[in-house]
């Protein structure tokens, strides 16, 4: 393994590591525009110049391999002067429209200008080469050719990641501009990524632009709830409103990418009315609000009454593949441990079959739930009863009398959703007593015996198990208005009312219990589940 010295710091790196990567390992940032860890090296921006002793000229660190005994300087005067020169050329035709540019605050031109530039432009504004501004490139992206530094990250993304080749350089010399053929819209399901990888304000997000200045946003680490791939992402939010979702780099899952549907999934969560208070159906058949205490006591006693009269086999535990591992674990603890239920199900669709099935060969998976694998690993499926349709049938036959149902609508919609949802509605109609934990209001919710309002993805701490069996943590970003609780807390309350001898005060406590109790999750620590996530045992 080559050992090299960067700015006097000696480090050892894997063979094949470039200087820029080695510097990153050593905690030294080398300025760059075109280099991106998940794209092929292009070496066109020349910002990452470094001095390598015994080399005649400065070298671009993104395309120079670290070798044994190499001595590199990244911040001496020779390097700084060169980088300043490169930056000045990159800015020659830049329109300097920062006050109206949505990239302001997270723009590499601004950042590096403050460190390396601070020069006065030699070119008066009226002599700068003008190009197209505000070009509509479809539902995700808006292009401003003047702000572009021609790093070709977007071009390489479409060439090497999606293999669709929509974007290209056009023209030559200082008239070169990026664009699509005839300014055609980008119609591929990953186009939003070019906004993230654009280091400047050339490509901005159609959805996010001008909604909020980026320095007002708070960021929370999360995991996408859009499908079973479970891409690592970051939720940017302010005052309880989610503004955008950005990928977090996770080489084991999503590299630096997100699909457009996942990126926009927070709109689906915000759409539709929320269930805000616990409700119990009275004798008149109308639901009336109650306090949590009362709701939980009533559910616990009613479930046990049904069990005592008709046996535990008459109760179904219907989990949601969108609930967290913590929620599913306490659900199981209560339903199996306290009520004695043995009949579990979580599939309103064919989630167990589609959990690993790819929708395309990049990220998307057919199963639009983030935690189907968690439900499978926790054993919340009893194949012998014939799924939800079998449950509806046995309810109609009078064998199944009660159901505790967790239902979250998928955040990425598919035409089959309606059918899946109507099966859940059917199940609620078919049983005598139904307890539904739901986040969003639906027509059929009015037919449930008890409705318990719960928080959804992005509103609670918890972990999800993706298609690989990788457990990843998602943090609470926002708190919705209303008397909702995380699903795990609802079952923690039920367990307390039922007389269980342990209690949990945080999702982290539940996670600890989960990893002590469930064989598949045994030994996984909270820290391991952060990035890139920990794999569950294969049982």
């Amino acid at each position: 393994m080559p050992k090299l010295t960067i700015n006097g710091q000696e480090i050892e790196v894997e063979p094949g590591t470039t200087i820029i990567q080695a510097a990153q390992v050593a905690g030294i940032e080398i300025p760059h525009y075109c280099y991106h860890p998940d794209l092929p090296v292009d070496g066109n921006c020349r910002m990452c110049l470094v001095e390598v002793e015994r080399m005649p000229k400065l070298a671009i660190s993104c395309a120079t391999l670290a070798t044994e005994g190499m001595v590199v300087h990244t911040n001496n005067d020779r390097v700084k002067e060169s980088v300043r020169g490169v930056l000045e050329f990159l800015l020659v035709n830049h329109p300097v429209d920062c006050p109206v540019c949505d990239q302001a605050g997270e723009c590499r031109l601004q950042d590096y200008y403050m460190v390396y530039g601070l020069h006065t432009s030699e070119i008066p504004l009226e002599m700068k080469v003008r190009k197209q501004k505000v070009v509509d490139l479809g539902p995700m992206v808006v292009l401003d050719q003047e702000r572009c530094v021609l790093c070709s990250r977007c071009i390489r993304f479409f060439d090497h990641v999606t293999h669709t080749g929509e974007m290209q350089f056009f023209g030559r010399g200082d008239h070169v501009a990026i664009g699509t053929f005839e300014n055609r819209p980008l119609d591929n399901p990953y186009s939003g990524n070019v906004v993230d990888i654009c280091p400047v304000g050339a490509l901005t997000s159609r959805d996010f632009r001008f909604k909020c200045r980026v320095w007002f946003l708070n960021s929370t680490d999360s995991v996408c709830g859009g499908c079973s791939t479970g891409c690592s992402m970051r939720i940017d939010h302010r005052d309880g409103t989610v503004f955008r979702l950005l990928p977090r780099r996770n080489p084991e899952v999503n590299k630096s990418w997100l699909c457009d549907e996942g990126r926009m999934s927070f709109h689906e969560l915000a759409a539709g009315e929320r269930v805000r208070r616990p409700m119990i159906k009275g004798r008149d058949g109308m639901q009336a609000p109650v306090v949590w205490e009362e709701a939980v006591r009533s559910v616990d006693s009613k479930l046990k009454e049904i069990r005592d009269n008709h046996g535990a086999g008459s109760i179904l535990g219907f989990a949601s593949p969108s609930a967290t591992n913590e929620a599913l674990f306490l659900f199981k603890q209560y339903m199996a441990g306290q009520v004695g239920v043995t009949r579990f199900e979580f599939r309103a669709d064919s989630e167990d079959k589609s959990v690993t099935e790819q929708e395309d060969n990049i990220l998307r998976r057919v199963d639009k739930h983030p935690n189907s694998m968690g439900a499978i690993k926790l054993g919340l499926v009893s194949k012998e009863f014939g799924g939800i349709e079998g449950a509806i049938e046995s309810a109609r036959e009078g064998k199944l009398r009660a159901g505790v149902i967790i239902y979250f609508k998928p955040l990425v919609r598919r035409p089959t959703d309606e059918e899946a949802e109507s099966r859940v509605a059917e199940l609620i109609r078919a049983v005598e007593y139904s307890v539904v934990l739901a986040a969003h209001k639906t027509d059929w919710l009015a037919e449930a015996s008890v409705v318990l309002p719960v928080t959804a993805w992005s509103e609670e701490n918890g972990s999800y198990t993706n298609y690989q069996g990788r457990v990843q943590l998602a943090r609470r970003a926002v708190t919705p208005a209303g008397d909702m609780r995380p699903v795990w807390q609802v079952f923690a309350l039920l367990l307390a009312v039922s007389g269980a001898d342990i209690s949990w005060s945080t999702a982290a406590d539940v996670f600890e219990s989960l990893t002590e109790t469930e064989p598949a999750y045994r030994g996984i620590t909270y820290d391991e589940a952060r990035l890139p996530g920990a794999l569950v045992a294969d049982i």
Binding site: T164, G165, M167, Q168, F170, R172, G179, T180, F181, E182
Partner: protein, 158 residues
């Protein structure tokens, strides 16, 4: 919908055979397309892309890089007059003035009859016989305003 005719298609196949891979054939194919259709319109770029299996953006990117692949229609006789040092010293601009006077159009414009257009170009590699001009595949050398006038008259009667 434009398309190569039979003869052009035969030439296209012959160009493909010249290279071990398809990619290097792109420029000769664009030159062929320019001969066939006069200039590389977006439609032509898209056609060449579909023919060779490249995105239209890719083809247009190559076409816009090379100035001799034209992105605008030109006249039947497109006169390209060298403006680099040797030709300039030897009198490009008096010739250009004569062209403008006779044709009555500015650079990149086409005469009303569609016969002529002109433009300045970079070095034609004919410094020894400056000033020089290229019309189609033909060079005209040692130009004077008089000889330029004669050339235009000759081409006009062609």
């Amino acid at each position: 919908m434009i398309q190569f005719n039979e003869e052009a298609m035969r030439q296209y196949q012959a160009i493909l055979k010249r290279y071990p891979e398809k990619r290097p054939a792109l420029i000769p194919v664009l030159i062929l397309a320019q001969k066939e259709f006069g200039w590389i319109s977006q439609e032509v770029a898209e056609y060449v892309g579909s023919l060779m299996g490249y995105p239209a953006s890719d083809v247009l990117s190559v076409a816009t890089f090379y100035t001799m692949l034209r992105k605008k229609p030109v006249g039947k006789y497109h006169m390209e007059i060298c403006r680099n040092v040797s030709c300039w010293l030897m009198g490009t601009y008096p010739c250009v003035d004569e062209i403008k006077r006779r044709l009555g159009v500015e650079a990149e414009e086409i005469t009303e009859d569609g016969k002529f257009s002109w433009n300045l170009t970079e070095c034609l590699g004919s410094c020894g016989t400056a000033p020089a001009m290229q019309v189609g595949d033909r060079y005209y050398e040692n130009l004077t305003p008089e000889s330029v006038g004669e050339i235009i008259e000759k081409l006009a009667n062609d």
